[in-house]
Symmetry: C2
């Protein structure tokens, strides 16, 4: 799947991943009204709104991006109806040929991790009947529990051509509280140590285009750190969050790409899916045309990324 992702980045000339992290106040009034009328003031109304919203945006951008990244928290919050909407969002994105990165950041071991693995990127076998549940192509994972929390995913990665992005350096203001502490091993920071672990784990699972199935989440808000990690893990694909909303600029991304402009995908969520709410797009797009505003925001982001990568 890492090979497919790279192929799609080359075809679309775009390393932008659209983060499908809806919130109810991003949803245009005409969708909200229909759903509230149909389902009442319920979590189901919100879940159905998210699905309709996502589908409309996917319809407008699927031909100009390689991938989408739904954030499961937004759906999980709504209970079972939310998870159904998460699953339907993924199915729809895949129908349109998009690579799907499930942003689940799970963090568990042994049979528990195997359960997540089978559900998200593998198969669930019920008395010989085989079920594919979530169907993400990639998922994100949190590494505090060590390789025991990664290994249960590798069988499914190999068997079903899937991939992982492991948190290495995140984009939040307090990330340094844990990730920047110096570890005595050669006096490097914890995130660098984690980068070297992720590289080691990934070396055994290389794709055919020079990158591993095991990628890394590397926040865009720390430029020098991106450069350092790129040198520690040259064969690791980066998923870069924090662009736009979290304050990172295109220049900060520079070190994440390699000499031919590959090696990273950059996520933007609110900046694209709620573009119609930004003054810069409001003059050209009405609320009814929210998805067209998202398309324009993707084209604008592509343009900027292609200047720096």
């Amino acid at each position: 799947m890492i090979d497919t992702l790279i192929q799609k980045i080359i075809e679309t000339e775009n390393p932008t991943v659209v983060g499908l992290d809806p919130r109810f106040n991003f949803i245009p009034k005409h969708i909200r009204d229909i759903m509230l009328e149909t389902y009442g003031n319920t979590p189901e109304a919100v879940a159905k709104s998210y699905l309709a919203f996502n589908k409309a945006i996917i319809d407008e951008v699927y031909d100009i991006i390689p991938a989408v990244k739904p954030q499961v928290a937004m759906y999980e919050q709504l209970g079972a109806v939310g998870m159904a909407s998460y699953i339907e969002t993924i199915a729809y994105a895949k129908e349109k040929g998009l690579v799907v990165v499930g942003d689940i950041k799970r963090s568990d071991i042994a049979s528990t991790a195997a359960s997540y693995s089978d559900g998200h990127i593998g198969r669930v076998n019920v008395e010989g009947s085989i079920h594919e549940i979530y169907k993400e192509d990639f998922i994100t994972l949190s590494p505090y529990l060590g390789y025991d929390s990664i290994e249960p995913y590798m069988d499914n990665c190999e068997k079903y051509d899937k991939g992982l992005f492991i948190l290495v350096k995140t984009s939040n203001p307090n990330s340094g509280e844990v990730q920047d502490i110096l570890v005595t091993k050669e006096g490097i920071a914890l995130y660098e140590y984690m980068g070297s672990l992720v590289k080691k784990w990934g070396d055994a699972f290389m794709g055919t285009r020079g990158y591993s199935r095991i990628g890394a989440v590397v926040g865009a808000t720390h430029k020098e750190q991106g450069i350092k990690l790129r040198s520690i893990m040259p064969k690791t694909f980066f998923l870069v969050p924090g662009y736009g909303a979290q304050g990172a600029t295109a220049e900060d991304l520079n070190g994440c790409f390699n000499a031919v402009g590959l090696g990273a995908i950059v996520n933007s969520s609110r900046g694209i899916i709620a573009a119609y709410q930004k003054p810069i797009y409001q003059k050209d797009f009405s609320e009814m045309d929210f998805a067209k505003a998202s398309r324009q925001a993707v084209l604008d982001m592509k343009h900027v990324l292609n200047r720096v990568r």
Copy 2:
């Protein structure tokens, strides 16, 4: 809620938490058969089996334990029908007066963490209509992203009397790969550093019985490490996994308790919920009596724990 948990440990004279981590091969044949016949070989049949299984066990043990800990992965694996079964399991346990620790180990920041927080331990507001979705009393969290991944939960903890257990030292064989690396700050291990962070975060959120709302997950497989962490974080309640199945013995738990035998709850999952499959219980309990075998396993565990704490 930490006060309630302590009260229930004192009342039941039992620090045992029953881990509701069902697997389809734990489910007695008479339950499996009914569900497969009703729902076919589907994830729904598995989800409904889990719920029936959990309810039967809860009915037999609710009067002798303080809390249960459902592991969300087992349910999440099954998709939306699984999440419904997770939610119904929690509701049933709470009806029976049990404290519920949702083992979710989520690991995210900002609006994403706030979404998890509102869904799991807070409220979801849909146009003025207020919904409680998962209703856990405590949840577990993974700390690699620093306080940004904890802070979004604290408002709901205060407002709705909830609590957290943060991963500090886990029970898996490879946990040392990350958690034991030495950090230069005074040459301590990362898990000790994390322990001091969790202590610091928790100091602002004390209950009335001398323990913080922010607890720690401390694996039972490393005795000296439990002792060290108890001294670093004397006011932090420990959730101790790894007892039984993961090889820890009662003696290993010793350091986790304080002088009056409080300060920790100890989880056992398979050892209790699948007790009827163990030779030691098979002579007294048939498969039909699986829940009674679980009750006996709880009483046996209580007996052993009360000898060491």
